[in-house]
C-alpha cells in the first residue's frame, strides 16, 4: 500500500465506465495515470453465484458508512427527506459495470437534439447537446470492439446510423421464448430487435465466452465475458506499466490553485492516511451523484462555492431513469411437459427489444410527436430467496403451513414470469438535483450528497404509453396474466446528469469536451455530462463518451 503523496500526469477518480476508458487510453499513450477507487479489487475468483452477495449488497458501499439523503415527492407532491436510500452502483474496481446486465443500445440522433426535434415542455430543462450523434458514432464503434458487444443489426424504422454493418460478436444464445416473441410482434406489425449486449458470445483475448449461467445482472461474471471496465480496460491499462489503481482510496477534495485549475486530489487511504495525488489533469468519474458532490465539496480561492459553480450549475439537472416494468405470466399447467421445460430453461438470453415508439407520433395520446422510448424484454437474475421472502405475505397476512408451501410451489414450478422494462427520458427539471447535506456526514467526515428527485408528469404519460404496448405484446404471446406499472421513484442505478455539458457556462457545468467550466484541466467523464439520458440504459454511451474525452485530453497535452 502506497502511503505517501504521489505525482502523475492524470489522476482519475473512479474506475467504472466513466474513468476506465481515460485510464486505458492515457496509459497506453505513455502518460502516468493513477486511478483512485474507493472499493477493493475483486475479480472472477470472488464472483460466486450466491444470492447472498446481492442480498447483502456485498461489493457495494456500506449503508452504515455512507448514506444518501433523498428528498422525494409524496402523493401530494410534498417533498419529504429520508436517509434510508442509497444510490451506490458498485464499490469495487470496475464499479457498477461488474454487475450490469449490459443492455447496450446506442442513443439516437434525436437524443442529441431533444429541444430542436420535439420543442420545449413547460417545466422541463430540455436542451440540445453541444455535440451530435455523428461526433460520438466512432466511439460507439470503438466500444463495440474493445468492450465486446454481441448482437445482430436488423433494419428497422428507428435504427441509428452506423459506420459498421454489424456488431463484432454474434448474438449470445437465445431462449425459446424469443421465437414466441418474434411471432407475436410480427403479427402486431411491430419490429422485433435482437438486443445487443456488452457480453462476449465467443472468446476474445484472455476473456472467455458467456457460459449462459443465467446469473448475469446483479452478479459478477466469472468468465470475463461481461464487459466490465476492469476486465476490458483496466487489466490492460495496469499491464502497460503506466497505470496504478489505488484501492480503498476515498477522494474527498480536488485542490485548485490560484487560477482555479486542478492541482491535486486529496484522499483517505485504507489506513486512514490523508494523502494527495498531484496531477496535471484531473478526471472525475465517481457516478453522477458523487461527482457533483465532489465538485461541490472542493472549494477554493477561485471556486468559493465548489469547482465550476460560478453559475450554480453543479449538481443541477440530474436525471434518473424513467419508465416502468411489466410482466407476462404463463400458466405452465396448460403446456406439455416438453413446452414446460422449454419455458423453464435458464441460461440463454431473451434479448429482444422494441423501439417502434422511440418517437411517439400518436394523436390519440399526444397532440404532437413526443420522444418515446425502448421496451427491453429480459430475464431477471435468479433471486429465489428474495422472491420466496415476498411470497410469505399475501395481502398483509403471513402465510405458513401447507398454504405457504402451495404458494411457493405454484409460483416457482407452475408458472413462468417473463419481464419487460421500459426506458424513457426522465426530463431534467428544477426539482431534480444534487446538493451537499448540512447534517449527514459519511464515515470520513464529509457531507453526504442530498438528492432531490422530482419528476416531470410528462415522463409518466410516456412511460404508461410504452408499458401498455409491452402488456399488449405479452398478451399476444399468450401470457395468462399480463400487467405493468410505471415508476416515479428514482432507481438506485442508471442515474445521470448533474453536470451536464453545453456551450453556455450559465446553463451547463461542462464544456463540449467535458471539461469543467472555469478550469483548464478538470474533466468529468461519467454519466454526469448527459443533458438527458436517452431512452436506453446509459452505460454504452458513458463508455463511448469517455473514449471521446480521452482523445480530447490527449490532444490537450
Amino acid at each position: 500500500m502506497t502511503s505517501k503523496n504521489l505525482e502523475c500526469d492524470v489522476c482519475v477518480i473512479g474506475s467504472g465506465a466513466g474513468g476506465s476508458p481515460v485510464a486505458y487510453e492515457l496509459a497506453k499513450a505513455g502518460y502516468k495515470v493513477i486511478v483512485l477507487e474507493k472499493g477493493g479489487w475483486f475479480d472472477e475468483k470472488d464472483f460466486t453465484k450466491d444470492e447472498m452477495l446481492s442480498r447483502r449488497r456485498v461489493f457495494r458501499s456500506k449503508f452504515k458508512d455512507e448514506r444518501h439523503v433523498l428528498s422525494e415527492p409524496n402523493s401530494k407532491g410534498e417533498f419529504k427527506e429520508s436517509t434510508t436510500s442509497q444510490f451506490w452502483g458498485g464499490n469495487i474496481v470496475g464499479g457498477a459495470t461488474n454487475f450490469m446486465s449490459a443492455y447496450f443500445h446506442r442513443l439516437k440522433p434525436q437524443d442529441f437534439r431533444l429541444l430542436s426535434t420535439f420543442g420545449e415542455i413547460e417545466g422541463a430543462n430540455i436542451v440540445d447537446w453541444p455535440i451530435s450523434y455523428e461526433d460520438l458514432e466512432p466511439y460507439y464503434t470503438k466500444v463495440e470492439k474493445l468492450i465486446g458487444v454481441s448482437g445482430k443489426v436488423v433494419n428497422h424504422p428507428n435504427l441509428e446510423p452506423r459506420s459498421t454493418a454489424d456488431y463484432p460478436f454474434p448474438p449470445t444464445a437465445e431462449h425459446p421464448i424469443a421465437k414466441k416473441f418474434d411471432k407475436a410482434v410480427k403479427e402486431l406489425g411491430y419490429h422485433s430487435l435482437p438486443m445487443a449486449r456488452g457480453i462476449l458470445s465467443r472468446p476474445h483475448k484472455d476473456r472467455n465466452a458467456c457460459v449462459l449461467s443465467g446469473y448475469c445482472g446483479s452478479f459478477g461474471c466469472e468468465t470475463k465475458a461481461k464487459g466490465s471496465s476492469r476486465v476490458a480496460l483496466l487489466n490492460d491499462a495496469v499491464k502497460s506499466g503506466n497505470c496504478e489503481v489505488i484501492t480503498y482510496a476515498k477522494a474527498y477534495k480536488i485542490n485548485t490553485d490560484n487560477s482555479g485549475n486542478g492541482e491535486s486530489v486529496s484522499y483517505i487511504d485504507k489506513e486512514n492516511n490523508d494523502l494527495k495525488i498531484f496531477a496535471r489533469k484531473v478526471v472525475v468519474a465517481c457516478y453522477s451523484i458523487e461527482s457533483s458532490r465532489l465538485l461541490l465539496a472542493s472549494k477554493g480561492v477561485k471556486h468559493p462555492n465548489g469547482i465550476g459553480n460560478k453559475y450554480q450549475q453543479i449538481g443541477k439537472n440530474l436525471h434518473c431513469c424513467a419508465g416502468g416494468t411489466g410482466h407476462g405470466v404463463f400458466d405452465l399447467s396448460k403446456l406439455s411437459e416438453y413446452e414446460q421445460n422449454k419455458m423453464l430453461l435458464r441460461g440463454p438470453f431473451f434479448n429482444r427489444a422494441l423501439q417502434d415508439w422511440y418517437t411517439i407520433d400518436d394523436q390519440s395520446a399526444f397532440d404532437k410527436p413526443v420522444k418515446g422510448g425502448t421496451i427491453d424484454f429480459v430475464f431477471d437474475p435468479p433471486s429465489l430467496t428474495s422472491n420466496a421472502m415476498d411470497l410469505r405475505f399475501k395481502n398483509g397476512k403471513l402465510l405458513w403451513g401447507t398454504e405457504l408451501k402451495q404458494r411457493l410451489k405454484s409460483h416457482f414450478t407452475q408458472s413462468k414470469d417473463f419481464k419487460f422494462e421500459v426506458f424513457c427520458d426522465w426530463l431534467p427539471n428544477n426539482d431534480c438535483h444534487v446538493s451537499l447535506d448540512n447534517k449527514e456526514k459519511d464515515k470520513w467526515g464529509s457531507p453526504v450528497a442530498k438528492v432531490k428527485a422530482g419528476y416531470h408528469p410528462h415522463d409518466l404519460k410516456v412511460a404508461q404509453y410504452l408499458v401498455d404496448k409491452g402488456v399488449e405484446v405479452m398478451k399476444k404471446m399468450g401470457a395468462d396474466r399480463a400487467y405493468g406499472n410505471v415508476w416515479s421513484s428514482p432507481t438506485s442505478n442508471l442515474m445521470a446528469g448533474g453536470l451536464r455539458f453545453g456551450s453556455n457556462p450559465e446553463t451547463s457545468a461542462l464544456d463540449a469536451n467535458c471539461r469543467v467550466h472555469g478550469t483548464d484541466n478538470i474533466y468529468v467523464t461519467d454519466g454526469s455530462f448527459m443533458p438527458n439520458g436517452g431512452s436506453v440504459t446509459p452505460t454504452f454511451t458513458i463508455y463511448a463518451n469517455s473514449f471521446r474525452v480521452a482523445d480530447k485530453i490527449l490532444e490537450s497535452f
Partner: protein
C-alpha cells in the same frame, strides 16, 4: 434492506386476543433493549461463529452439521428450545407429502448458524425467538395446561393461528419464517437446503461457481 426483507409492516393486532402474551408483551425493540435477557446473552452474542468454544453441556442431537462452512460447537438454543422450535417449524413447514419439511431442510442447524451472523445478532433475533418460545409456552399452559411440544398437531396449529393474529406473534413467526425461507432457498453450503432438496422441489438450478470456503458472503463483509 434486511428489515425490509423481514417485512414487519402492515401488522394489525387482533382485538379478540388482545389480552394474550403476544399483545401485552414488550414490542421487539423494547424487548431488545431490556437489560435482563440481553445481559445474560451478551458474552454469547460477542462470539465469532467459527471460534465458539465447545460446551459439552449444551449439545443437541437435533443439529446436523454436514456443511463445511457451518462449524457450531456451542448452540444458542438449549435442547429444550430446539425441540420447541422444531415443533413450531414443523407446523410452519410441515411434512405434508409435498416437498421437504422444515426438518428435511435442516432448519435448526441453519438457524443456529444464521444467528451467529453479525447483522442478525445486532437485530437481536435470537433473544426475540427465545422470548417468543416463553410466551408460546405460557399461552399453551393457559389454554391447554401443557407445553407446546406436548400438544396434538391440531392444538399446536390452533395456538399458532391465534399467535399469527397478534402483532407480536406475527412478528415472531415472521422472524422464524425468514430463516425458514433462507434454509429452503440458499446454497446448501450454508447448512440448510440439504442436498439441494429445496431447490429440487422448486425446480431451481443453482449457479456455478457456488459459495466455497473463503468465498462466502461473510468473508466479504
Amino acid at each position: 434492506m434486511k428489515q425490509q426483507d423481514k417485512n414487519f409492516s402492515n401488522i394489525e393486532s387482533n382485538p379478540l386476543i388482545k389480552n394474550n402474551h403476544w399483545t401485552v408483551g414488550l414490542n421487539r425493540r423494547q424487548f431488545i433493549k431490556s437489560a435482563s435477557v440481553l445481559a445474560v446473552l451478551t458474552p454469547l452474542l460477542a462470539c465469532k461463529p467459527k471460534i465458539i468454544v465447545a460446551d459439552s453441556n449444551n449439545s443437541s442431537n437435533l443439529i446436523n452439521q454436514s456443511s463445511e462452512v457451518v462449524e457450531l460447537k456451542e448452540y444458542i438454543f438449549t435442547n429444550k428450545q430446539h425441540k420447541e422450535l422444531l415443533s413450531v417449524y414443523m407446523q410452519m413447514f410441515p411434512d405434508n407429502g409435498d416437498g421437504p419439511s422444515a426438518k428435511d431442510l435442516n432448519i435448526l442447524t441453519y438457524l443456529e448458524w444464521a444467528l451467529t451472523d453479525e447483522r442478525n445478532r445486532k437485530d437481536g433475533d435470537a433473544d426475540f425467538i427465545k422470548q417468543g418460545l416463553i410466551w408460546l409456552n405460557q399461552y399453551s399452559q393457559e389454554k391447554y395446561s401443557d407445553d407446546f411440544v406436548n400438544l396434538s398437531e391440531k392444538k399446536q396449529m390452533t395456538l399458532l393461528e391465534v399467535t399469527a393474529q397478534s402483532e407480536q406473534g406475527k412478528r415472531w413467526m415472521s422472524i422464524l419464517s425468514y430463516y425458514l425461507i433462507e434454509a429452503l432457498t440458499l446454497d446448501p453450503y450454508y447448512g440448510g437446503n440439504t442436498n439441494q432438496i429445496g431447490w429440487q422441489w422448486l425446480k431451481h438450478r443453482g449457479g456455478s461457481p457456488s459459495p466455497l470456503k473463503g468465498r462466502t458472503y461473510r468473508d466479504f463483509e
